[in-house]
Symmetry: none
Subunit: 313 residues, 2 copies
DNA sequence: CAGCCTTTGACAAATGTGAGACAATTACTG
DNA sequence: CAGTAATTGTCTCACATTTGTCAAAGGCTG
């Protein structure tokens, strides 16, 4: 863990102001970063994580003065109890920033049908690795792994259902606990009719809140007409659709064209999901943006945020 | 369990006002939290639990002066008996405990597609009215109302999806935040194959945790074989199935018989949901218990809890 | 040289505390 | 049944603590 971030970057990553970070250091020794030769602060990933935890805890009502001195592992527990998640007695590895560790933990939990352990693995992963790594290193691999195990007949549908249900509620929780400013532009997230896989859309929704957008998550399987009416009623600046299964839906091109027609040309349409490639022609035709993964979704949203915000006025 | 919550967090968690919490302390010594060096109150999880119990008891009609001195165990019993008695009876006028108020709030939120408002309406309702009233007075009427509005063409599917998605994550949250004794018997909650309506099952799952059972919620649409394997692997003492739609599923009797055969005769099978009446013959045949509503589910679970607990040993 | 960082001191908003008071309801008494 | 006392939730006030924000002055960086 080499120290590397100047204070400005840390402020961006954690959502705290530089002022506040320095104050917390001065008053409570919340984090004491290394310095350059010329006394400039240089924060490590561990510091960033600690500051994020502190922010979540204070957000939930803790007094910074009381908690600033706590150890990292205590802090994780504290955040859990403040946010009303039960961690229970589980193997803890706060030091580990290794997604694979949490992936293994989670997969074991699925195999043994242990709901609590799965929740706790996800929670710990979410505080120990960043959100990007949480998706790309834990949740997505977990879903693939569960799929493989099921294909191989080593686990049952019930395991897969349990995993889905826990992950879904965990992701919902992430959206709820992320505070976004109410002036932020709004994005509608859903999947088109007959596309029933919803976890991709949920992760997109979480990514969007993380990128500072207000999100309206409408669940899977929604006709173009209804998506458009939701966009209009909520005055959303963008729509994101996740396409996973079926990979070859003959009715989808029609739906997409209808969507573009109904929302008008000012609304950004973003399309992601594994099957997006199979509909490329239509996507180009309706001038929608495709994103390969959640990271590029975040980039697209970041670069469109200011545009959307100004247009709203 | 070190003391850690400042009073405002406790107020949020319990639904009491900070004023009232201090008053109960001054007058009745209901809880006497530790203090910081500067006399600020710091509550522990135990204190929070105790205050919640006190709130539930007073809401059900107990007078605070009488019960404030009781021990925690007595309080649990008291709350249980009080809530049995006062179900349906008019609760004492404590604040705006009118479910219809929250129902209207929630319905407005759905109509205006306001996710946050719906969440906050549900959250307020859950701390202001008891859980029974939350289901029977808010969530179920809300779902019916949304259905009616949709039939009448006054709202779109997107509204219904939004409502479903918010309610689902809210219910999931309720399950997670209810702390259950890890020795409690376990119940598996799901719906059979092709029964895709999941909110009934989710409410059943919440009811079960409220009745002191550990709950494994597996989501909707699960084949009998997989339900049974989940029961066996998790050593569950009971299974609850919610039947709503379709009301006349020709394959259901076969599924139910298979379920009984696969789980053996020691497992309690509970069946609820609006359509349960249409399958009465099979239900009797497999010696399953039917419940009319969530309240009777709670009763069945309460009376079977001790039985299940002893059998587990 | 403009812009960012550091330290220090100061300020104001928010929140918590204890005491007292008030109004509404309930329970008891003659 | 009227009158009285007790109960209980809410509110206000004066004061202390906590905490986020800001400004000034000087140094570092590109």
């Amino acid at each position: 863990m080499e120290p590397k971030y100047p204070i400005r970057v840390v402020a961006n990553k954690t959502g705290l102001s530089t002022h506040l970070i320095r104050m917390w250091e001065r008053r409570y020794h919340a984090v004491e970063p290394c310095r350059t030769d010329t006394k400039r602060r240089l924060y490590s990933d561990v510091d960033v994580r600690r500051l994020s935890l502190l922010r979540r805890a204070t957000q939930a009502g803790a007094n910074i003065g009381q908690i600033a001195g706590l150890g990292d592992d205590q802090l994780v527990e504290l955040v859990a109890s403040y946010e009303q998640i039960s961690v229970g007695a589980v193997p803890r590895a706060v030091g580990a920033t290794d997604p694979e560790f949490f992936l293994r933990l989670a997969l074991d939990a699925v195999k043994t049908l242990d709901q609590r352990a799965l929740e706790s693995a996800l929670l710990q992963a979410s505080v120990s690795v960043g959100r990007t790594l949480l998706f790309e290193g834990v949740i997505q691999p977990l879903l693939s792994a569960v799929g493989e195990e099921w294909n191989a007949g080593r686990i049952k549908v019930s395991h897969e259902h349990m995993a889905t249900s826990v992950i879904r509620s965990f992701l919902g929780h992430l959206i709820e606990t992320t505070v976004v400013d109410t002036n932020a532009p709004l994005i509608v997230v859903t999947t088109p009719t007959s596309h029933v896989h919803e976890l991709g859309a949920l992760m997109a929704a979480v990514t969007a809140t993380g990128a500072g957008w207000q999100t309206m998550y409408l669940g899977p399987n929604l006709p173009a007409e209804d998506i458009a009416s939701a966009v209009r009623q909520s005055k959303a600046a963008a729509v994101a659709l996740s396409l996973i299964y079926p990979p070859d839906d003959p009715r989808l091109p029609g739906e997409l064209r209808a969507l573009r027609r109904l929302v008008g040309n000012d609304t950004l349409i973003i399309i992601g999901g594994e099957s997006r490639g199979n509909y490329r022609k239509t996507i180009e035709e309706i001038r929608a943006v495709t994103v390969e993964n959640l990271r590029s979704l975040a980039e697209v949203l970041a670069s469109n945020r200011s545009v959307a915000a100004t247009e709203a006025k």
